[in-house]
Amino acid sequence: MIRRAFRFVDERVGAAPFVKRMLRYVFPDHWSFMLGEIALYSFVVLVATGIFLAFYYEPSSARTVYNGSYEPLQGLLVGKNYASTVNLSLDVPGGLLIRQTHHWAANIFIVAIVLHVFRIVLTGAFRKPREINYWIGVTMAGLAIFEGFAGYSLPDDLLSGMGLAIAYAVGMSTPVVGDDFSFLAWGGEYPGSSDFWPRLFTIHVLIVPIILAGLIAVHLGIIMRQHHTQFRGGRATEGNVVGTPMWPGYALRSIGLLFAVAAVLVLLGGLIQVNPIWEWGPYEPDLSTNGAQPDWYLGWLIGGLRLMPPLEPTVGDYTVVPNPFWGGLLFPTIVFLTLYAWPFIDRWWLGDKRRHELLDRPRDNPRRTAFTVAFFTWVFTVFAAGATDRVYLLGDIPYVGQVWVFRFLTIVLPLFAYYLTKSICQELRERELRPLREFSGETEVVRERPGDPVGRA
């Protein structure tokens, strides 16, 4: 049956040589290689659930009287965007399950991407010949965060409306072109521009997903062309790939991962509430709530905005750089430029321009690992500062004092992280290279091959 179906295809497009290569394609095994796959499968779930949601959502801020089943809102004048999102959540069977699964999938999509980036930089997988694919990956990370923000803004509830107001202010704060840029992007002032909602919708459901899908295809295509990296050990060398062939073992396991990711996301979507917009109510420019937090992947930007002292350079009486620029725009720009420049920084700093197919373990390269940990500590400290208002509300720890502590930690913690990580890596490496350094008797260290670290097969 399978043979006959394949013969039909093969006689028409000559697929056999390609399919044979595909089925015998070898995947090296390591748990950390699954992170990218988890991101990929979250994207699949996002597309599937997103199509369902797009059929019910109305991208319009035109006012309508809410008359759905949620009593506290009945009779209220709200935007159609908000009303349609509440309706698809509470009055469409299964709608809430799909919406919450979509929301959870977005959160986990970006968790997986961030961990994947962390894995790539820690193991030196971005080195020659993989720089192009690394840059594509960093671009997708940025797009995913932007896409998440766009999606979470669509319901026009109080929380997302506050987020959009902040985004509008951050856009406005761009030096020289800020006001023109924001007006261009929003179609006028926010709130109030009716052009804005169809634009945001088109960007979220069409433009960014298509770019992401295209980049994913290129990302995977380049991986297949170059093959995966692998860790040292066993039969692995710079010139080969050792692992499980695609068919049948790897394919089945990967399909298993797809369904496992989908299962976790659907269970989260069904059992754990996320973003109950009917409780927040619709956005009105004169309303806001204390302790409001966006989705997790925007926390670093909130932290950046919170920590910045009230610095607004002026010429005479005129503002040159409005304050939100520093935390909301300059900070993420520095983070992403550093990520893009990573292959160059690594090559220049370590003076290594060779091609690498074998990965470093974090300890193998203490300086790179220390820099990576310091950099992520820096971003994470700012991220944690984004939660100061919740800590204030829940723990009653004075807000002003917290902000000063975080301003200090943002500078000190990365330095501390750098030296701590470096010495841990060096110690681990020492132990491997000279396992018997504290043993004073006569010893002989046996290595399988000269240069191999001891204690690894």
Binding site: R24, Y25, V26, P93, G94, L97, M162, I166, Y168, A169, M172, D179, D180, F183, L184, A185, G188, E189, P191, G192, Q226, H227, G239, V242, G243, T244, P245, P248, G249, Y250, R253, I255, G256, L257, F259, A260, A262, A263, V264, V266, L267, G270, L271, P285, D286, L287, S288, T289, N290, A292, R306, E312, D317, Y318, T319, V320, N323, G328, D389, V400
Partner: protein, 329 residues
């Protein structure tokens, strides 16, 4: 019905009747790009039964989801059944992939990239295009000009996405003589306000969907109020109104910190919940903490014949978030 039973028995026989292990006896080292180095055939009847059982569970949970969807679409139950179906399918696939099908380790030689000869040939093919063309620079320049011209043309539809900034950010719905109303549309009278409370006010009969619309109204004892002299008249009886939109990032400044015990507590201040910019209400809403760098602009008020609050002019500065070129005060 009987037919169905026959089919089920046949399916059962087909699924369970096959013997797994001895069927697979292929010799290792099949041709292909990857060389086989290990090959274990590990299927047992028991494992096969496990996988089949889990696959049937998937089907049962899937049918359960469909039934619930029609009969009782409760979000938790829907999530549990659909999630359960997917989880069971995942389990079946992983068990099959790791234990049932032959386990193989293979080695594939990597292909080197960047053959210098081929690269040279491509370079030749690319540069061949310029043979016999004498004014190459000029042609390339003309092509560049064409691109730039087309770029200019395409920039215009893009520029029409947004209206002109100049007037729109400065426009607010407040006019001298417009009464101040509360969220229900009732006029706010001076007697409703006392020190320690704050009210949100709107322009009567105007849209509230604009950043310039909402104001906060507080009362500060006259001997504590320190406004620029020309703005004192806009705060009758110490009743002072500020734009409710934070000058940092456009959130509504919706918290009022008012000390109960004068000597130890901090000064009365409006606080924005988004990034905790804090504005001193007695000193013209100047910033005392947080990232905002401009004070909240003041809206001058007067008290009308029936003690109602009436707008007495425009804001003292630009409302809403800063933009390049905005005036500091």
């Amino acid at each position: 019905m009987r037919r169905l039973a026959v089919w089920l028995i046949l399916a059962w026989a087909w699924l369970f009747g096959r013997r797994g292990p001895e069927e697979e006896k292929r010799e290792p080292g099949r041709e292909g790009p990857a060389e086989r180095v290990e090959f274990d055939v590990g299927a047992t009847r028991r494992l096969e039964n496990v996988v089949i059982f889990v696959l049937l569970l998937t089907a049962a949970a899937g049918v359960g989801f469909a039934v619930l969807y029609v009969a009782y679409p409760d979000t938790q139950l829907l999530g549990a059944t659909l999630g359960g179906a997917l989880a069971a399918l995942a389990l079946a696939a992983v068990v099959a992939g790791k234990r049932l099908v032959p386990q193989e380790t293979a080695i594939e030689e990597r292909e080197g990239f960047g053959d210098p000869d081929e690269r040279e040939q491509v370079g030749e093919l690319l540069t061949e295009a310029g043979e016999g063309v004498s004014r190459r620079g000029l042609l390339l320049g003309a092509a560049g000009t064409a691109g730039a011209g087309l770029g200019v043309a395409l920039a215009f539809p893009l520029a029409s996405l947004g209206p002109n900034v100049d007037d729109e950010v400065r426009r607010t719905p407040w006019r001298a003589g417009r009464r101040v109303v509360d969220s229900k549309g009732e006029p706010i009278t001076a007697d409703r306000i006392e020190p320690g409370m704050f009210l949100t006010g709107f322009p009567e009969g105007a849209s509230r969907q604009e950043l310039g619309a909402s104001i906060v109204i507080v009362q500060v004892p006259l001997d504590e109020l320190e406004l620029p002299p020309e703005r004192m008249a806009g705060a009758p009886e110490g009743i002072v109104a500020y734009s409710k939109i934070c000058t940092h990032a456009a959130c509504a400044v919706s918290m009022y910190r008012h000390p109960k015990y004068e000597p130890t507590a901090p000064r009365a201040a409006l606080v924005c919940p988004c990034h905790y910019s804090t504005f001193d209400v007695a000193k013209g809403a100047e910033v005392i903490f947080g990232p905002a760098a401009r004070p909240l602009p003041q809206l001058p008020l007067r008290v009308g014949a029936r003690r109602e609050l009436i707008c007495a002019g425009g804001y003292s500065g630009q409302i809403g978030p800063s933009y390049p070129g905005v005036r500091k005060q």
